[in-house]
């Protein structure tokens, strides 16, 4: 049986009177692709910030990669990777400088950075571009490099916050090939997306509405439950149900 890499019990985060996350309970299994869906403002970012050790819960329990949300946030940060569409790499540094910077942040030795970056650049087929500034790299490629950098330190789990927003259809699919490669290396992937076809690439999906998780299952099971052939339709039904009750 796979072990849980994330365990969350009744996790709650309040800002004043506002309950941003309301009693979240779920687990993420080691080696799975876990899709974290929800409308804008549903509370996804708040939850991700807690899971990454960047903010502390108001109440409830949370363990990420075996470390506690209240007392071991620094250890959580060392054992995860993170990238998003908005923040990934520094535009005014070269590919190689970004690798060295992030490798250093995650505590890799000089030799480890050198070896792994060589391996990574070879795999992506961009060895000759390593001295190119990130700002001169096409956006789709930048996202692929950013993802590879986010897992350079071989984290147990990587958080991807809308990693493919605005990326062209071909590169978007190549990005998912990289995700599957990471899974093969034993890295767990936690991902948010607004592309519903990408939601179907996940092993399991959770759906957040107004700070609560209202559904959690495999894409196939969710479609069956809502009697629909499209994930988009499931998403709309769930998000709309939240509008009525709020």
């Amino acid at each position: 049986m796979e072990k849980d890499i994330i365990r969350v019990r009744n996790l709650t985060k309040k800002f004043g009177d506002f309950v941003a996350n309301d009693q979240l309970t779920f687990e993420v299994k080691q080696g799975e692709i876990f899709g974290f869906l929800g409308a804008n403002g549903a509370g996804k970012t708040t939850a991700i910030r807690m899971l990454c050790g960047l903010s502390k819960p108001t109440s409830g329990e949370m363990e990420v990669a075996g470390f506690d949300a209240y007392t071991q946030t620094e250890l959580i940060k060392k054992n995860i990777g993170y990238m998003s569409q908005k923040f990934s790499l520094y535009d005014d540094l070269t590919i190689w400088e970004n690798i060295r910077f992030f490798g250093g942040i995650y505590g890799l030795s000089r030799s480890a950075i050198r070896d792994r970056s060589k391996e990574m650049l070879t795999r992506l087929g961009i060895v000759n571009l390593s001295n190119r500034l990130i700002r001169d790299i096409p956006p789709g490629w930048k996202q692929k490099i950013a993802f590879s950098v986010a897992i350079l330190h071989k984290p147990q789990i990587v958080f991807l916050d809308e990693p493919t927003g605005g990326v062209d259809p071909v590169t978007r699919r190549q990005f998912w090939d990289l995700i599957y490669e990471a899974i093969d290396q034993g890295i767990t992937v936690f991902v948010t997306t607004h592309y519903m076809d990408e939601a179907e690439y996940c092993h399991r999906l959770s759906m957040m509405v107004n700070g609560r998780i209202v559904a959690l299952d495999s894409p196939e099971a969710l479609k069956q439950r809502f009697g629909s052939s499209s994930m988009n339709d499931v998403f709309v039904q769930l998000a709309r149900s939240g509008e009525k009750s709020s």
Binding site: G38, N40, G140, G165, P169, V170, D197, A239
Partner: protein, 301 residues
């Protein structure tokens, strides 16, 4: 009648050819979609149309006016909603609207009917600072401000980027509501599924227009037959197919594989090809290509 006429347009930033030999006509009253990924040149093209950038070569005419010479005449008739929220965050909702009305020499009341549907949900918050609104409300306010002088041409730069599926649907409903009001709408988006909501579209990548026309017409240009294959072993099947044909003929679409075959390949032959891999197939059917299928095919050729 033509609203926007673009001829041999070029615009570079240093070595980056943001807009590369673009020619395009957009008709009056139509809802036109510029569809392409980040970096395709959509924003630059829109800013050239808005007379905010000058062409390196080529020309843009809006309602017959040249964007170089007659930019004043163009700007009076133009509503522009940039991709980034660009209202004043320290002014209230009402103050922003009043400001934009005044800039264009009009009042909120004169064209209120145009924005009524969009602005109504904001009315209870009209004393709130714009910077404190939620994402969806900011967007409604930005659209209201872009419409307040009743422009003949409305440019919307990626209004739905980073927006969830439900809010995206609502935004397109708002746009459909503006159609038929003697307004030309130009919308850019990276979401291929929004193509079908437009009268006509242009697919853009790397500064060039790959193809333009109505979405239905673009579909008929698809080369070959497209098969949707469902299998529990989707990745192995994709790899085998691509290896067999020596190029990327199969692409993932959710839990299905879209496989492009030559037009003369019969279903028997298709089944025969699949059988040799000894991979269980749940279902197989021929489908109409979507705009994303078309984009992938054109972008790769």
């Amino acid at each position: 009648m033509t609203a926007i006429s673009i001829q041999n347009l070029h615009k570079s930033f240093a070595s980056n050819r943001a807009v590369n030999e673009v020619s395009l006509n957009i008709n009056r009253g139509e809802l036109f979609g510029l569809i392409g990924p980040d970096g395709a040149g959509k924003t630059s093209l829109m800013r050239l149309i808005a007379s905010l950038l000058l062409p390196d070569s080529g020309s843009v005419h809006v309602f017959g006016f040249d964007t170089r010479r007659d930019y004043r005449s163009i700007r009076k008739q133009l509503g522009y909603m940039p991709g980034r929220f660009s209202l004043y965050p320290d002014l209230t909702v009402e103050e922003n609207l009043h400001f934009w009305a005044t800039v264009f020499g009009t009042t909120i009341d004169r064209h209120y009917h145009l924005i009524e549907q969009i602005y109504k949900p904001l009315e209870p918050f009209k004393k709130r600072k714009a910077g404190q609104l939620s994402g969806g409300m900011k967007q409604k306010l930005a659209l209201s401000c872009a419409l307040i002088h009743s422009p003949s041409l409305l440019l919307l730069d990626e209004p739905t980027t980073g927006v969830d599926a439900v809010s995206r649907m609502e935004f397109w409903d708002m746009l459909q509501g503006l159609k038929g009001k003697d307004m030309t709408l130009l919308v850019s988006t990276p979401y291929m599924d929004e193509a079908d909501l437009c009268d006509r579209i242009a697919l853009m990548q790397q500064g060039k227009i790959l193809s333009a026309g109505n979405p239905h017409h673009l579909r008929t240009q698809f080369i070959g037959r497209l098969w949707e294959v469902k299998t529990p072993q989707i990745h192995p099947l994709k790899q085998r197919l691509n290896a067999l044909f020596g190029c990327e003929v199969a692409h993932l679409f959710g839990q299905c594989l879209h496989w492009t075959c030559q037009a003369d390949m019969s279903i028997d032959k298709v089944e025969q090809v699949l059988k040799q891999f000894h991979i269980p197939i749940d279902s197989l059917r021929e489908i109409e290509p979507g705009i994303e299928d078309c984009f992938i095919q054109i972008a790769r050729s």
